[in-house]
């Protein structure tokens, strides 16, 4: 099992790389916008979420 998954990790098919990196970037963008944006309005709207997820705030 372990060697199997390691092998697939190395041999990740080229067709998968683009969709996977796109999804990862989309996810990071969403989290970055909600949790890290310096826009005052976004900060105020997501205020309790930022504190409750222990994101740096204020």
């Amino acid at each position: 099992m372990v060697t199997n998954s390691a092998a697939t990790a190395v041999g990740i098919s080229a067709s998968k790389i683009i969709p996977l990196s796109m999804t990862a970037l989309l996810g990071l963008f969403i989290v970055g916008f909600v949790g890290f944006s310096h826009l005052e309005v976004v900060h105020n709207a997501a205020h309790d979420t930022r504190h409750s997820l222990a994101f740096p705030c204020h």
């Binding site: 999804t23 989309l26 105020n44 205020h47």
Partner: protein, 254 residues
């Protein structure tokens, strides 16, 4: 592109459900503590300890405080509106985390069911909540903190280093990589998080202690549920992928 679409659907379903659960847990645990801390935050500047003064008056006197909520910026009204925005932000964050989680797992061969998803969820908790929290404990409104920019940089670096370190431990078998993983896990804490010049605050210590506990407890449950749900939903979609799109080739190859 069906892979991209399926991952997005998976993340949206798992994120909406676990984000909703997180919002419900928060509204009983962390949010009441945040509201209590805001009373101290608004009472603190200059006016001294006049807690009984009308909150509106205290708010009007507040702009002198270091606190950056400008008076002109829009903010949701307390109560239901604020709850709705918190719920939306929770679900959006959950969807974002789920997208990254699925992408990472697919790069290493997929979740293989809820158990694998749960492992990834726990790893997410370690990388996103626990490791950054060791240097920058969850903070309540009105607590002193260093400049926002450096703290965000330290937070992101710590999360990334921890995630890579955990990945190396889980997916490699050489001693060199294990050593590198340990260095990555420890290095951010040796560097140290940016700290405020003074830790003095009007927010009581026990309020903060209860808040830290509540944050860790709710987020552990949230990440475990997010991971397991993502694993389950992803497996459903994968079954569909193989049954419809790839069936002739897949069947022939078996």
């Amino acid at each position: 592109m069906s892979l991209f679409r399926n991952i997005v659907f998976t993340a949206v379903i798992a994120g909406l459900l676990s984000g909703l659960l997180l919002t419900v847990m928060q509204s009983f645990s962390t949010v009441p503590l945040i509201l209590q801390a805001e009373v101290f935050e608004n009472a603190a500047p200059e006016t001294g300890h006049s807690h009984d003064a009308a909150p509106a008056a205290a708010g009007a006197a507040a702009p002198a405080a270091e606190h950056q909520h400008g008076e002109e910026a829009w903010a949701p009204a307390d109560g239901f509106e604020r709850f709705i925005y918190t719920a939306a932000a929770d679900m959006l964050s959950a969807i974002g985390f789920a997208l990254v989680l699925v992408a990472a797992s697919e790069a290493f061969g997929g979740f293989k069911g809820w158990r694998g998803g749960l492992m990834f969820g726990i790893a997410g908790f370690l990388a996103v909540i626990l490791a950054p929290g060791l240097g920058l404990p969850p903070e309540l409104p009105g607590m002193p903190a260093a400049e926002l920019g450096p703290r965000q940089i330290w937070w992101v670096s710590t999360a990334v280093c921890t995630a890579i370190g955990l990945g190396l431990i889980a997916y490699t078998r050489s001693a060199v990589f294990a050593a590198l993983a340990i260095v990555l896990l420890i290095a951010p804490h040796l560097v140290g998080a940016p700290l405020p010049p003074s830790h003095e605050t009007a927010v009581p210590m026990d309020l903060h202690a209860r808040f830290v506990n509540a944050v860790y407890a709710t987020n552990l449950v949230f990440w475990a549920v997010l991971g397991a749900l993502t694993g389950v939903v992803r497996e459903r979609f994968r079954a569909g992928e193989e049954a419809s799109a790839g069936s002739p080739a897949k069947l022939a190859s078996r």
